[in-house]
């Protein structure tokens, strides 16, 4: 397996991944989006780290003509924004419990992966596994990402909060 960005041949696919994230974030979650340079991402990361909040990682595997895995890392405050954007800030009118915040991050990954596959391989059939969502202590991000956050990953800002997306195929 290799990361999407490790191969020059997949630069179009990387662009399509950016476009998929923008479409999903803007259309379904009404978020402002930006593709970040590493310095800009570090700036957003520093601001986010100040809150000390946990991060959340959605991991989604897919299979079809080829297999792959998408991971999406977001700080928990952004995950809460995703949830609020979709279901409203108020409680459900009939008093039902709100979905878990993990569900919001999982659905973000699900939509991004589906949109990317459709854009790139629209004539092929892929099956997406249900996303798994884990909490990450902010102190462990460096260990998970290695020395460079952009190593094989797409760095973005959603509503001025850092998001790291990695696609391995």
């Amino acid at each position: 397996m290799s990361s999407l960005r490790s191969s020059p041949a997949t630069s179009d696919a990387a662009k399509a991944l950016e476009a998929a994230v923008v479409d999903v974030a803007e259309q379904s979650f009404a978020l402002f989006t930006e593709v970040c340079t590493p310095p800009r991402f570090d700036d957003l990361l520093a601001r986010s780290a100040g809150s000390g909040a946990d991060w959340m990682r959605a991991t989604l595997a897919f299979a079809g003509p080829f297999a792959g895995e998408l991971t999406v890392d977001v700080p928990e405050p952004l995950a809460l924004e995703l949830l609020a954007s979709c279901v409203g800030i108020d409680a459900e009118p009939d008093g039902e419990a709100l979905p878990a915040v993990e569900d919001a991050v999982g659905e973000l990954a699900n939509m991004v992966c589906g949109a990317w596959l459709t854009r790139n391989y629209g004539t092929k059939r892929f099956d997406l596994r249900p996303p798994r969502v884990d909490r990450i202590d902010v102190k462990n991000l460096g260990r998970l990402w290695g020395s460079r956050a952009d190593g094989g990953a797409l760095l973005m800002g959603l509503n001025d909060q850092p998001v790291r997306i990695r696609l391995v195929i």
């Binding site: 479409d23 999903v24 259309q27 379904s28 949830l83 979709c86 279901v87 409203g88 459900e92 009118p93 709100l98 979905p99 878990a100 569900d103 919001a104 999982g106 659905e107 699900n110 939509m111 992966c113 589906g114 949109a115 596959l117 459709t118 391989y121 629209g122 004539t123 092929k124 059939r125 892929f126 099956d127 997406l128 249900p130």
Partner: protein, 136 residues
């Protein structure tokens, strides 16, 4: 939302089938934000739960995801298609998978619409409005 003759359309019972609780809540919220009269909104996390609800409640409109555990949306739609008493149900597919292969696979399952996620809320509103018009 009275029609041109001042009549109020029949309130719809909607069943939303998606393994994501957030997607179900999102669809439900959009449905409530439209002018479409809703009698009841039911929810299921997969095709098996959906079939149980369909056995218990009369449903007018079925929104279903495709990729779900236990029973997929495609399998659910095949079962709905097989049952004479459910032929009146308006079926709408809501999926991240917009591939031609998947659309071809579901083409024979009598879905009224195929909504590809992500979609803007007004797209679902328009689909519901069409259903209300055809339901009168």
């Amino acid at each position: 939302m009275p029609d041109g003759n001042g009549r109020r359309p029949t309130a719809l019972t909607v069943l939303i089938v998606d393994d994501s609780a957030m997607m179900r809540a999102m669809i439900k919220r959009i449905a409530h934000l439209t002018d479409v009269p809703l009698a009841r909104v039911l929810e299921a996390a997969n095709g098996v739960e959906a079939l149980q609800l369909l056995e218990q409640h009369p449903v007018d409109v079925l929104f279903t995801d495709i990729n779900m555990p236990l029973m997929t949306g495609t399998e659910l739609l095949r079962e709905v298609d097989r049952r004479q008493e459910w032929q009146h149900i308006v079926r709408v597919i809501v999926s991240t998978d917009g591939s031609q292969a998947r659309r071809d696979e579901t083409a024979s399952l009598h879905a009224h619409a195929y909504l590809e996620k992500p979609f803007r809320p007004e797209v679902m509103r328009d689909v519901l409005a069409q259903i209300v018009t055809s339901h009168q």
